[in-house]
């Protein structure tokens, strides 16, 4: 069965890039969310195998979403997507147990390898 991935990012272009990179190697994107509140609601509803989560978003930022996810599932696999100047946020995210992080702008190969590592094997 394909691994099911959810993308949470307020930037449509970033969602487009991540989706296109992951679909090119066969991952299934089960949902996209453009804000943290929708992301958390969809996580609870769909329980994807992995979430890519932007840090800076309106309404509810990535760290708040990550805390919410941890309240629902301590073992959920989360990859944070960050800009270069968000080091302090990244440290907080690491303390909440993320699988990896991707720095924007990124290459497709970086996204794919981070997801493969987090899920334990290449997509099947």
């Amino acid at each position: 069965m394909k691994n099911r991935i959810m993308i949470v990012d307020d930037a449509l272009f970033m969602r487009h890039l991540i989706r296109s990179a992951l679909e090119s190697v066969g991952y299934e994107i089960v949902a996209e969310a453009e804000n943290g509140a929708d992301g958390l609601r969809l996580f609870e509803e769909l329980r994807p195998d992995l979430i890519t989560l932007d840090i800076i978003m309106p309404e509810m930022d990535g760290l708040q979403v990550l805390r919410g996810i941890r309240n629902i599932d301590q073992d959920a696999k989360v990859i944070m997507v960050t800009a270069v100047d968000q080091r302090s946020c990244m440290l907080k995210a690491m303390n909440l147990g993320i699988s990896d992080f991707i720095v924007k702008p990124f290459e497709d190969a970086r996204v794919i390898s981070a997801v493969e590592r987090a899920l334990g094997s290449p997509n099947t």
């Binding site: 930037a11 272009f13 970033m14 702008p105």
Partner: protein
């Protein structure tokens, strides 16, 4: 304005690598020599006062305000968005807008990081905005977010190259008049402390 031109150029070189990454190696950016122009000549230099142009603009807060503008013709801007996001950007204005906002983020953070290294303090950037207006009016749009502005503007002509197209792009920097003194003072401080100058040059 020479100091501002120098680090604007450095910031754009940093951004070029990121644009290449964002475009999956489809777009390269080449830059000309930065120059200082009178603010009243901006429209004429961009192709004529009545020429419709697009800009991605944002504020940089570096002890005093600056405005960064990335200016292209509407056709070039659309083509650029398509190069980065594929044909969908031509029919989906929201996607095209999101592409341009990310391009603004790339330029803004690259230039802000370079400036931050030079000044030794944090430089914040605003969310990039999309502006469309006559070339002669674009500078006025930017002026709306500043209390005062220097009479001259730094202009850096660049080109975005892909395998089949070259897109001209002008990068403009408008600065508060106090910026020049802030830069000069900083340069004097660095000259007094050669280790600090070495650290800045090494950081480039």
């Amino acid at each position: 304005m020479n100091l501002i031109a120098s680090w604007l150029s450095q910031g754009v070189r940093d951004a070029a690598g990121k644009i290449r990454m964002l475009s999956r190696s489809k777009v390269d950016l080449s830059e000309g020599t930065p120059r200082s122009i009178d603010i009243v000549d901006v429209g004429a230099v961009l192709g004529g006062d009545d020429q419709l142009m697009c800009a991605i603009g944002m504020n940089l807060m570096a002890r005093a305000p600056l405005v960064l503008m990335i200016v292209m013709s509407p056709a070039a801007m659309t083509r650029f968005a398509v190069l980065l996001a594929g044909p969908a950007a031509e029919t989906n204005p929201q996607l095209a807008h999101s592409v341009l906002q990310e391009v603004g983020n790339v330029f803004g953070t690259s230039i802000a990081n370079c400036l931050s290294r030079y000044l030794g303090s944090t430089v914040r950037t605003s969310v990039p905005e999309y502006w469309e207006d006559m070339a002669g009016a674009l500078a006025s749009v930017a002026l709306g977010s500043m209390d005062s502005v220097s009479d001259s503007v730094v202009l850096l002509d660049t080109e975005m190259h892909s395998s089949d197209v070259t897109l001209p792009c002008s990068i403009l920097m408008l600065a508060d008049p106090s910026i020049e003194n802030i830069f000069k003072t900083r340069l004097e401080q660095m000259n007094d402390d050669s280790s600090e100058m070495f650290a800045f040059v090494a950081g480039q």
